[in-house]
């Protein structure tokens, strides 16, 4: 939506177009229901919220630590998910290797794990006694459980599938001929991928990253099991909320609201501009 750059007349044109962009009413009704369905719980939450406590909660050191930790770890996990997930998506979308379906399934599986089991699975692999973790320990004296790194691992584990599947789908929707054209211009596969493919699937890439980030931010089960619940080190917002529920449900709600507010702010920040692919002021005449 680049009104800014568009001359007023064109803008008028656009508005009329937008006006016409109206969906058929059944679709609108369904979309409306969906919005209501999403909005109501939060309205309810705000309605229930013990605003009196707001001050203390915001002041509380634990909450601030937890928030800061949550932001750091969730961003780290998102980064990890992108760095490793995009190549995996690329592989799944483009290379017809035997067992591709198997790998794809594997990459989705971590979503269906019940919270604690996820943690147990991570113990079994990256724990001090884990298949792989024992060597990490022996050789590098590296221990993931109960460390901030462990939090990132747990979050990445549950968050990466979203990125992988979203990006793979986008890659499959892509018109390969554009990439072919780039290659005939002497662009290496890397160059093509980074300068042609990724920009073209940007909407999906961003959506995937957002999903992964949100999931990481909300991650609870695997984290509390694998990384434990140490304030300042592994106690993320969801854990803090959970613990607060044990002592003071109202405080818990407030903490959750802080988390919601922060993530909402971030999500709102996602301009349509970045998501891209938005219908241009007027279509190409071609």
């Amino acid at each position: 939506m680049t009104d800014t750059t568009a001359p007023t007349r064109a803008a008028v044109g656009r508005n009329r177009r937008v006006g016409r962009e109206r969906l058929p009413w059944p679709a609108l009704v369904l979309a409306g229901c969906a919005i209501a369905f999403f909005a109501l719980p939060f309205i309810g939450l705000l309605w229930r919220a013990p605003w009196g406590q707001a001050g203390d909660v915001l002041a509380s050191r634990t909450v601030r630590d937890a928030l800061w930790l949550s932001l750091r770890t969730s961003l780290a996990s998102t980064a990890a998910a992108v760095v490793f997930g995009v190549p995996l998506a690329w592989l799944l979308a483009r290379v017809a290797f035997p067992g591709r379906g198997f790998v794809r399934a594997l990459a989705t599986l971590s979503m269906v794990l019940p919270p604690v089991v996820g943690g147990v699975a991570l113990f079994a692999s990256f724990g001090r006694r884990g298949l792989f973790g024992q060597y990490l320990d022996e050789w590098f004296g590296l221990r993931l459980p109960f460390t901030t790194a462990g939090v990132v691992v747990a979050q990445t584990f549950v968050a990466m599938p979203f990125l992988v599947l979203t990006v793979e789908a986008a890659l499959r929707q892509l018109d390969h001929r554009i990439e072919d054209a780039a290659r005939t211009l002497g662009a290496s596969r890397w160059y093509v991928f980074s300068r042609v493919t990724l920009p073209t699937i940007r909407p999906a890439l961003i959506a995937g990253a957002v999903l992964a980030w949100a999931r990481a931010l909300g991650e609870f089960g695997a984290t509390i099991t694998f990384a434990g619940n140490f304030p300042g080190r592994t106690q993320t917002m969801p854990l803090a909320t959970y613990l607060a529920l044990e002592t003071d449900p109202d405080e818990a709600l407030m903490i959750a609201l802080v988390l919601i507010a922060v993530s909402f702010a971030v999500l709102i920040g996602l301009r349509d501009r970045w998501l891209g692919g938005d219908r241009p002021i007027t279509e190409s005449p071609r």
Binding site: A6, P7, R9, A10, V12, G13, R16, R17, G19, R20, I281, T282, E283, P285, R286
Partner: protein, 350 residues
């Protein structure tokens, strides 16, 4: 059923402002240089670009009018389009592409398929019915796009360079079929093309676009007889000289004099037919009063005749026979003298 369209569209720096009226059964050809707004107008007529000024109406039913905030959605307009870029549905077979319009308008599948198949036969792609657009060649795809639009035969059909990708033979044949199709039909047709032959074969009248405006309008004969723009001159392959008529003939902007026979003065166009230009290696002593000396910058062969571009004070294109070319041994870069009789120059007011 008449189409009245005053189309004003702004796209970034480009502005389109044209007005056309097309009668029932009439075919209007739209010609013009690249980027002159032909496609944009078609898109506006089809409702794919909202107009910023003017109105588009069929008889009295308004399709688009910003002032009255009227806008009829593309799917509600009795208008079909053959797109310059085909825009076929990649997920459907050629057959289903052609059948799409009929299905969308509620024709039962089998019936739609049957009629689509007929169309594929007509355009000679019966054995590509199952092929996906990606599996068609450029020309084949363009024919499918044509059939897709014709299949729903809309009251108004907009064709955007529908023959550009066809080979000579297919092109002539499709052109012939198309004409028969258009003749039978009393709908309205607007044809964008770069080929005057198409215009002549298919169109009743011609509109010449340039920089988003109509610069010439009429029958192809009228327009070609008296070109009023460099583009039209190029189009009909003749030489156009612009200048002002004075005592010693026509004087161009850059001061070149051209001896002509005229009964008026003031700004004027002069047309020099390539056939009436004679080329000679040595300065000829003739009664002809216009002799321009320059270098050959271009040689195009059309069948048995040859067009030679001469970079003289006035750039001229002469047409000679292949034989003459060989005897004169002309090569690009050679120096040459071009001679024109004043009486052979057709002149009319600008």
């Amino acid at each position: 059923m008449t189409l009245h369209a005053a189309v004003g569209v702004d796209l970034g720096q480009f502005t389109l402002d044209v007005e056309i009226h097309v009668e029932p059964g009439e075919v209007l050809a739209v010609l013009g240089p690249n980027g002159s707004g032909k496609t944009t107008m078609l898109r506006a007529l089809a409702g794919l670009v909202p107009i910023d000024r003017g109105t588009i109406r069929i008889d009295d039913t308004v399709l688009d009018d910003p002032d009255r905030a009227v806008f009829v959605a593309p799917e509600r307009r009795p208008i079909g389009v053959v797109f310059q870029q085909y825009l076929l549905f990649d997920h459907l077979s050629a057959l289903d592409n052609v059948a799409f319009g009929l299905r969308a308008r509620g024709t039962p599948r089998t019936e739609a398929r049957r009629r689509a198949r007929d169309w594929l036969d007509r355009i000679g792609l019966a054995d590509h019915a199952k092929a996906r657009p990606r599996e068609l060649s450029g020309g084949q795809a363009q024919r499918v796009a044509l059939a897709r639009a014709l299949a729903i035969d809309p009251q108004i059909l907009l064709l955007d360079e529908p023959l550009a990708a066809l080979d000579a033979g297919t092109r002539r044949q499709v052109r012939r079929d198309l004409r028969h199709h258009l003749e039978q039909f009393d709908g309205i047709r607007v044809l964008v093309t770069h080929d005057p032959v198409d215009a002549y074969a298919l169109a009743d009248r011609v509109a010449i676009f340039d920089h988003g405006a109509i610069v010439q309008f009429g029958t192809l004969a009228q327009i070609t007889a008296h070109p009023r723009s460099r583009y039209v001159a190029e189009l009909v392959g003749t030489n156009l000289v612009t200048g002002s008529l004075g005592a010693e003939g026509l004087t161009t902007a850059d001061g070149v004099d051209l001896a002509v026979v005229a009964e008026f003065t003031g700004p004027a166009f002069a047309v020099i037919r390539p056939q009436s230009i004679t080329l000679s290696r040595h300065l000829p002593d003739t009664s002809a009063r216009n002799i321009f000396t320059g270098t050959i910058d271009d040689i195009d062969r059309l069948g048995d005749r040859v067009r030679v571009g001469v970079d003289a004070p006035i750039h001229l294109t002469a047409e000679i026979t292949a034989g003459a070319l060989d005897t004169l041994q002309l090569r690009p870069g050679d120096q040459i003298h071009a001679t024109v009789k004043a009486t052979d120059i057709d002149i009319y007011p600008a």
